[in-house]
């Protein structure tokens, strides 16, 4: 270091983009694979940030379901939502999938509209805990909208190795839908 220069401090990032996928065309599901191998040694928590639209018809949105490690069991979830009136709530236990978002518009929605989701996944690689999720999500277009909060748990101690996102009713996510996975470190 030259006299008078500011000391170099290497930048260390604690919240990093891990993977992102913006669909060039329709796609049935989105999967993030090999998470344990690629990220478990560096990150503790995960976050998904999603903008989605599906090919469902006859409704203005649809929920997104989530599967961990390909499992079809052990999911509980609770939702609080508002659709223009007093909030409502739903809950389910021992499900084959986790509903985690209302954040996908549909083929019946106004053009260019996408649903939004921010999903947090805690202690994703801890083998001593059930895996917990929460999300703020929803969609809003000209005359329709839902804002929603989900809490979810996968009652399994396995570390998370894959996350699969799937439209609950429609067949495909549509082009320009965006799915980004982030990692958050812990000290």
């Amino acid at each position: 270091m030259l006299v008078g220069n500011t000391a170099y401090e290497p930048f260390i990032s604690d919240y990093d983009l891990l993977e992102t996928e913006t669909l060039p065309s329709s796609q049935a599901t989105i999967t993030f694979n090999n998470l344990t191998t690629n990220y478990a040694s560096t990150y503790r928590h995960l976050q998904l940030r999603i903008l989605a639209r599906t090919d469902r018809t006859g409704a203005h949105n649809e929920p997104i379901q989530l599967f961990v490690n390909g499992s079809n069991s052990g999911y509980n979830y609770q939702q609080l939502y508002g659709a223009g009136g007093a909030p409502g709530s739903t809950a389910a236990a021992d499900e084959s999938k986790m509903l985690i978002s209302e954040g996908a518009t549909s083929a019946s929605s106004v053009a260019y509209s996408f649903g939004a989701s921010v999903i947090d996944i805690y202690d994703a690689f801890n083998s001593n805990k059930h895996k917990t999720f929460r999300s703020l999500n929803g969609y809003r277009e000209t005359n329709y909208g839902i804002v929603s909060l989900y809490s979810g748990v996968w009652r399994n101690n396995a570390v998370i190795d894959s996350l699969l996102l799937d439209p609950l009713i429609g067949g495909n996510f549509l082009a320009n839908s965006r799915f980004s996975l982030y990692g958050l470190k812990a000290s």
Partner: protein, 156 residues
Amino acid sequence: MAITKTYRPLQTLTLSGSATSVTFSNIPNSYSDLILIYNGTTTANIGVSATLNGDTANQQRTFMYGSGGTKDGGTGGPREVIYSSTTMTTAIVEFLDYSATDKHKMILCRSGAAGVITLASINTWQSLTALNSISISPNSGSFSLNSTFSLYGVIA
């Protein structure tokens, strides 16, 4: 390996007096999402609205809230993003794909003031224009001294 700053502070404004509005302008389009964090008070318990690129139209929202024993929701106040109080309020407003020219802009909002309200909403700005300025203002009155507004960019 080059490390990319995923979540980067763009600007923080701290009020040295009251202000009827706060504006972030010339927002770069080099990120995917914007996150605005508010920590402050207003001269009344009041909704706070956002004007995007100077456009006061083309916004819609759906919201829900709890306030004491009351819980309700609605679709009114299409530009309101948060609710602020005379007691310390926190809020986070997320603009997803804010610079996309092939999407309407989606805005996820959470705000709360202990003992007053907790609120969530989803808003849309039905525009294909890249978002480059955000101005927020209480629907009446002003933001108070020491209120802070921090804008972050997130890459994807």
